[in-house]
Structure formats: C-alpha cells, structure tokens
C-alpha cells in the first residue's frame, strides 16, 4: 500500500480471486492472502473489501474486511473468526474461488500533523497495518493495541513484527500491560497528537476522552452490517450530527465528534 500513488477513489468493482494463503494466528484469527485475476486496484488504508466465496449462494453476503496490504496481485487481510462466514473463510483450502467487491469506503486521509497515534482493539489493527510505511517519513507513529490476553500471543507477535514499538495491553494482564488501550492512550497523548481508532464500539466511544487531553483530531473506523457496500441498501446507516450517513461510502472512517459527539446517538 503505497501512499505516494494517487489513491483510487472511484467506485468499487466486483473482482474474481482465489485464496492464495491462509495462516492461523492463534485460535480465533487468520491472516489471509487473496490472489486477484486482472488488475490490482489501488486502495488506501481504511478502505475495505466485501469478500465471499464464489459459486455458492449460501453464505450469501460478502464479509467486509479492511485491506491490510497488497503485494503484486495478492491482497492481504486479517480477520477474526466470529461467525459462520468467517469460520467458513478460515476453513477454505488454498485455491478456493473467491469474489471481492472493493475497494470500498473512504479510508483514512493523510494525517494533518506529524504525531499519529493508532489505537486498535484486537482486529482493529487491520486497517492500520498499511500505515506503518509512514514511520519512515515525517510522521511519527505510536501504535496501541488491546487484546483479551491468553490465546492471543501469536496475534500479538504478528503485530509486533509490523509495529516493533507497539504498546500492548491485555484485559487479563497476561500479555503486555494489564489494562485497556484507551487508558494506555490517555496516559501519553496530548496536544499535537492525531488519534485514529478502530475496534469495538465501546472502545471507540471511550476514546473520545483524548479530546480532554488536548488532541484535536480523532478519527474512528466503524463497523456495521452491510449488504451492498456501495451506498444503495441503507443497511449500514447511522445517525450522525450531520444527518444519516452510510458507513460503506460516507465512512467507514468518521470524525469521532460526528458520530459520538452529539445527542443523536449512533
């Protein structure tokens, strides 16, 4: 994922692919590569694809997964096995026929300042992986991760390889610091830090407290059930301070204040 290339901001397209590799990162988590037929689309961090098995109509819908990296014509993803569709994806052998719609969504814009803090709840790390390339440039990145704890060692190791200095927090204290990533973030952020968050809704809501620490810019990437991924079905609508928005095309990246700030609720 090369930020120097002009990001593709046109509408997504349906693409044929096949499973290239699939590696378990512990019990609940898979690192997957998908080989595309045809041209590899340009995408920016935070954009996502709807991924489904080609040729079957049950499971039916594509599962939204953030793009992690793209090497040649292989797109990489990272996902948690959380239900029927992801369990099935995790069980497929290499060569299995897939279908991808994307790249969808707005993705993260270039950071405004030069101090970027990435806060991830478990798989929320996915859209941030591609951002690591910034570190070699003017932007200084601090990554913060929260995991439940036991059973997540392999996943944490994988994240550490990508973000060598990543701050690890675990609920049970078995890996890294005992505590949650929001508290950890609050312990060091301040004016001049731009904060991006991705993870469970409760975590993202809590992240709002960085405003009190003087952080002005706080962006969050949201998750909502999706059908079309193209802004048509209104299945992913949320109420925001500026009216109804669709996570798939108006997001998934929003200003924290827009979605959690007002009385409108989400």
């Amino acid at each position: 994922m090369d930020r120097s290339v002009a990001p593709m901001k046109g509408p997504p397209a349906d693409r044929r692919g096949s499973l290239f590799f699939s590696r378990s990162l512990g019990d609940h988590c898979v690192h997957m590569g998908v080989e595309l037929e045809g041209l590899t689309p340009k995408a920016i961090p935070g954009q996502f694809f709807l991924i489904r098995e080609r040729g079957v109509l049950d499971p039916l819908l594509g599962r939204p997964l953030a793009l992690v990296a793209s090497k040649g014509n292989v797109l990489e993803f990272l996902f948690r096995i959380s239900g029927r569709g992801t369990a099935r994806l995790a069980s497929l052998p290499p060569g299995a026929a897939l279908e991808l719609r994307g790249p969808c969504g707005n993705g993260f814009p270039e950071p405004v300042g030069d101090e970027l803090v990435l806060v991830a709840g478990t798989l929320g790390i996915a859209p941030f992986i591609g951002i690591s390339s910034f570190s070699s440039e003017k932007v200084r990145i601090t990554a913060v991760l929260g995991v439940p704890g036991k059973g997540w060692e392999k996943f944490v190791e994988w994240c550490l390889e990508r973000f060598p200095g990543i701050r690890i927090n675990s609920d049970d204290g078995s890996i890294g610091r005992h505590g949650d990533p929001v508290e950890d973030t609050l312990s060091f952020v301040g004016q001049g830090h731009e904060v991006w968050g991705c993870g469970p809704e409760a975590m993202l809501r809590g992240l709002g407290r960085v405003h009190e620490k003087g952080c002005e810019k706080l962006l969050v990437s949201l998750e909502k059930r999706m059908a079309c991924g193209t802004g048509g079905c209104l299945g992913c609508s949320i109420r925001t301070g500026s009216g109804m928005k669709r996570v798939c095309v108006d997001g998934p990246v929003f200003e924290w204040r827009e979605v959690f700030g007002g009385a409108h609720g989400k």
């Binding site: 046109g10 509408p11 997504p12 397209a13 349906d14 489904r52 109509l57 049950d58 499971p59 039916l60 819908l61 594509g62 569709g85 279908e99 719609r101 059930r225 999706m226 059908a227 079309c228 991924g229 193209t230 802004g231 048509g232 079905c233 209104l234 299945g235 992913c236 609508s237 109420r239 109804m244 095309v249």
Partner: protein, 315 residues
C-alpha cells in the same frame, strides 16, 4: 436494426427488460460500481415518502440461507429533496427512472403525486409500493386487502397521468385477484412482487432480531415463490407483469419471462454480482438467436403454451 431486447412495458420504453429494483442501488450514479449499469434498462429509485424518514433503528440487514432479511424502514429524504437532488442525478443516467413511492395515508399519496407532476418529464414511471402500512387500517399493509388496494390505486390513477405501476405485496391471499384489481383500477403494469414477510430471533438476547419484529425476505431463497406468483398474476391480467424476487442467475430472468413477465427487476443479487444485468441480457440474446426470434417480446409467456418446444403436449 432494432435491438432485440428493446421493449415497451406499461407505458415506458426500455432498451432492455432488466430493471434495478427499488432500494438496493445508490441513487447517486457516481456510486455505481464500474460496469454495473451495462444491460440495465431502467432504475427504480429508493422508496420515497412525503416527509423525510430516518428509517428503523437497530439492525437493518440480516443474512439468511441464500437470502437476506431487511428492515430499512423507508429511510429517505422526502419528496422535496428527491425532486431537487436525487431525481436530476438519476435522470442523468439516460434511462427511464421508475419512481418508487410509499405512503401511509391516501392524503400522502395524493400529495406525493401532485409534487411529482412538476417534474413529470423526469419521471419515467410511478411505481406504487403497496407493502407499506396503511395507518387507517391499524398498520396492515395497503396491498393485502382488496378495499385499501383498490382505493389507493384508483386515487393514484386520478392524480397521476403518467405511467403507473403497482408493486404488489406477496402477502396476498391470491396473487391473480390482486393483480386483476390493480389492472381494473388503472395500473398499467404490476410488479410481482416485493419482499416476503419473515423474521429472525436473536437467540442470545431472546428477542426478535429486528426492532419491528418482522422483516422482508429477499434474494435467491425466494425465487421459486416469486416465479409462482408471476405465473399466477400473468394468467390473470392483460397488462404487463414485471417479475421481481430472487433472480440470481441469468436463467432465472429467462424463467420469469417464459412464465409471463414482460420485464424483470433484480435486487438482492446485485449485492453479490453487479454484472448480473449484463449477463441476463447476454442470456436473453443467446436464447433469441437459438430460437430464431427477433424480439424478447416473443419470449414472454412461452412456457404457458400448451405445446412444448417439440410439439408435445405439456406435461
């Protein structure tokens, strides 16, 4: 030479008999996935009400076996915004716009149609969604009682002079009867049909998954039911029938047409295959060539004939 897929259905000319169903594709053509509009003869707009609506809270979409349940709740910005912002965009797409409208009272219906008159030239067809609740009948859908359906269609016919289609609810005791009633009250075509009433339970929370308890089932799962409904309706009316429900592969659209549909609407399948309209057109063209026919109009209802292709009596 005229294109073999060109047709005229219920008052509107279509380059192809494949229509994007209401509520599934963005109103803003700039969001249409690359190539997805190839083969599309017309686009239905999202169900529009007189006042703006935020739609339902809670979950709105749930995957079922080869289908989805939806409970969007007619989220839309109301008729004024539609006319000012959305209709012009859709009109730019160079295809007839099928304006899908929903209403809770007859007064709403009248007001929407009056407003649409001001932009008559951009409205290809008014498609009445009669699956929405009739407030004066305790929220039962307009489309499931002959009296309320008759009143609504007759009123619309009086107010709206352009092409008028009625999109029937599958929750009717008899598809034939309700299609015939629509015809008698002035509909120029019937769309058969809308989503099928289903529901889901959240087993962990021990309550209905959707805020409104019931939700609409669409997608491949319902195709055999929708095909039957099309067969029944086409046997009961002289106006065109537009088949809608579960079309997932090109052959499904052909089946609908052979069963008596003059055109088809595709919805849920676009969520997984934006190239379906184009594939359907290729299938129809290949079928015409194989049979030496000149127009898709000649395919309509061919499976209803007593004689099979080989001259045998139908089974």
């Amino acid at each position: 030479m005229e294109s073999s897929l060109r047709t005229n259905v219920g008052g509107v000319n279509l380059e192809t008999p494949v229509i994007v169903a209401s509520g599934v594709w963005p109103m803003d053509p700039r969001l249409w996935p690359a190539g997805s509009m190839e083969g599309v003869g017309a686009v239905c707009s999202k169900g529009m009400t007189f006042e703006p609506r935020e739609g339902n809270r809670g979950f709105r979409i749930m995957e079922t076996y080869a289908g989805i349940l939806n409970s969007i709740g007619l989220q839309n910005y109301g008729v004024e915004h539609f006319i000012a912002k959305e209709l012009p965009l859709l009109d730019n797409s160079c295809r007839p716009v099928i304006v899908n409208i929903a209403f809770e009272t007859l007064e709403d219906l009248r007001r929407i149609l009056e407003r649409l008159k001001v932009c008559r030239s951009m409205v290809g067809v008014v498609e009445m969604n009669v699956s929405c609740p009739n407030v004066s009948r305790g929220g039962l859908s307009w489309g499931v009682h002959t009296e309320s359906l008759g009143n609504a269609v007759s009123m619309a016919r009086q107010v709206w002079e352009g092409p008028l289609w009625v999109k029937l609810s599958p929750q009717v005791p008899s598809m034939g009867e309700f299609a015939r009633l629509s015809q008698e009250c002035g509909a120029q075509a019937v769309v058969v049909g809308n989503t099928w009433l289903g529901m889901a339970i959240d087993n962990d929370l021990e309550r209905p998954f959707f805020e409104n308890v019931f939700a609409g089932l669409s997608g491949p799962a319902i195709f055999p039911l929708a095909l039957r409904a099309v067969w029944e309706a086409a046997g009961a009316v002289n106006i065109p029938v537009i088949g809608c429900g579960g079309i997932a592969r090109p052959g499904d659209a052909l089946s609908m047409i052979l069963a008596g549909a003059s055109a088809v609407e595709v919805g849920t399948a676009l969520f997984i295959d934006s190239g379906l309209p184009a594939s359907i057109c290729r299938e129809l063209e290949a079928n015409l060539t194989k049979k030496g026919l000149a127009s898709v109009r000649e395919l309509v209802g061919r499976a209803r004939n007593d004689q099979g292709e080989n001259g045998e009596k139908s089974r």
